[in-house]
Amino acid sequence: MHGRTRTVSRSGRRRVGAIVVALGLWMATSGVADAHAPDPTVGGKLWAQDQDVGYAWRAGQAPDTWLATAIEAAAASSNATRASRSARFSYRPGSASLIAYGEPTSCGPAGIACFDRSGAPSSFRMWFRRHGTWFDWGQLRWCEAPGGSADGCFEAQTIALDELGHVEILGHHVNHPDDRDYLDAVVQTLSRAKPRPGWSSRSYGVCDVARLQLEYDMTSWSAPYSTCLDLATSTALAAGRSTVALGETVTFSATLKVATSSSYRKLSGNPVSGRSMRLQRRLVGTTDWTTIVTMPGGSSAGTYVANVTPSATADWRVVATPSGEGLRSATSALVRVTVSSCGGSPCPQRAIP
């Protein structure tokens, strides 16, 4: 089947060169790709948020115990590390979703495992090639199979997590040219064998999680956003009173949201709670900002409230500084609060009711 050889002559090269030039804008040329983004999607309908999706073994193709254990461990890993409201998987006999071991499969000729999520949100299919199967590329060995743990084996639990990621909605991650971000995703175009980095993964990578969050939303408003995301945020500040007398208290209220963007999918406009929101003051006539207080959370999602007794007229702002996650910092517009020098009563600058 293989071993065919095509030969390109010198004259042929010249002709090809002319053709290549003529192709103009249709041609792509070599360039430096620099990717680090959430996994793409693989197509098909989403599951419901937090949908419990049961699966069972296909009749006549039930996996051996070692593989069943690996698949169930992968399902548990998926559930534990999805960090989103994506579907949850569990083994339930009689389920519409079926997982099969051995032939027949729907896998490609070189494929060791494959999936079909076109039945979502009702069901999915998954297949694993049999341990010991010979391919054009060599013999498949699953690491968990008896006697299968030598270098060159594929870990079934990792591959099952990859397939479950596909079933969720994940497409193959687009890596940096040097693959330094290979470990940022389990769902990869290239399945790695032991002992190459990434051959054994017990959790989704940050770029898997990023896509799951984009498509299925966060588990709570205070949950951290994947570091594979880079989402703009917006914050706003309001003062309960714009003019106060010396010694009086002003209530500052702030909000923090994920910016609104269609590319942010489910995350667009999300309120963001539990982040560091620094209320800062700049006295009139000065240029330096001073942090007065870190605002605690308010009564509703994405709100922050602080009571302050200003000592002088000043401009105020809030600076949101999420850290260790995929949210950018944001700074609010300025709010001026004027402080009357008169603290006594009656005060001539106060409005008389």
Binding site: H2, G3, R4, R6, T7, S9, R13, V20, W26, M27, T29, S30, G31, A33, P40, V42, G43, G44, K45, L46, W47, Q51, A100, S106, G108, P109, A110, I112, A113, C114, F115, D116, S118, A120, S122, R125, F135, D136, W137, G138, F154, E163, I169, G171, H172, V174, P177, Q188, T189, L190, S191, A193, D217, S220, W221, K266, S268, P271, S299, A301
Partner: protein
């Protein structure tokens, strides 16, 4: 797979084309509430199929051209499209058709069925490396616009290689990796000045 490389469509491709209209990515907008993200209404579910769906046809074909000879189809490895897919390891030279080119040739890869290409990358590893552990990126882009009909890049240096090209479909509905064994000769043509290993 065709020995001549002329055939660019077939039953598998037709099946794939028919499946393209099937998938629509659902998207709803969450309405935030005070305590936790809102819950989307559960999507309607269809009765479970009584039997497995028909086997999927696989990815579209991809062809490597580098001169007047007939284009050579690549061997698909991992692929995913419209909710179905298959995962595979690095394919060694022994599993691949060989394409001989000169070092000054230009390698051109295109998808069958006229499909556009979005992001793409080409990697090579010495043919003596059966697992691709030493594979390195040689060309590509991570953007998806504008869609491309074909991609072109320079071959690696003289030697025997495995070329693996990963093509993202411009419609955003998946990707596929294709591999060839690649023999790169000297500037005077295939086989000239080419050592047996890189």
């Amino acid at each position: 797979m065709s020995e001549t490389g002329r055939r660019r469509t077939g039953p598998a491709a037709a099946l794939m084309a028919a499946s393209l209209a099937a998938a629509v990515l659902g998207a709803c907008t969450a309405t935030p509430s005070a305590g936790a993200p809102a819950t989307d209404p559960a999507p309607a579910t269809d009765p479970a199929p009584a039997t497995d769906p028909a086997p999927v046809g696989g990815p579209p074909s991809a062809w490597l051209e580098s001169g007047p000879e007939m284009p050579v189809p690549g061997v698909p490895g991992s692929w995913a499209r419209d909710g179905v897919g298959s995962d595979a390891p690095w394919l060694p030279a022994s599993a691949l058709p060989t394409v001989e080119v000169g070092s000054e040739s230009r390698l051109v890869v295109e998808l069958g069925d006229g499909l556009g290409i979005g992001s793409w990358r080409a990697d090579v590893a010495p043919a003596s490396d059966p697992t691709g552990a030493s594979a390195r990126w040689v060309a590509g882009r991570d953007t998806t616009d504008p869609p491309l009909r074909r991609v072109a890049f320079d071959p690696p240096g003289a030697g025997s290689w495995v070329l693996r090209v990963t093509l993202g479909f411009a419609d955003g509905r998946g990707d596929a990796a294709y591999s060839w064994a690649l023999g790169v000769g000297g500037p005077d043509g295939p086989g000239s000045g080419r050592p047996r290993g890189p």
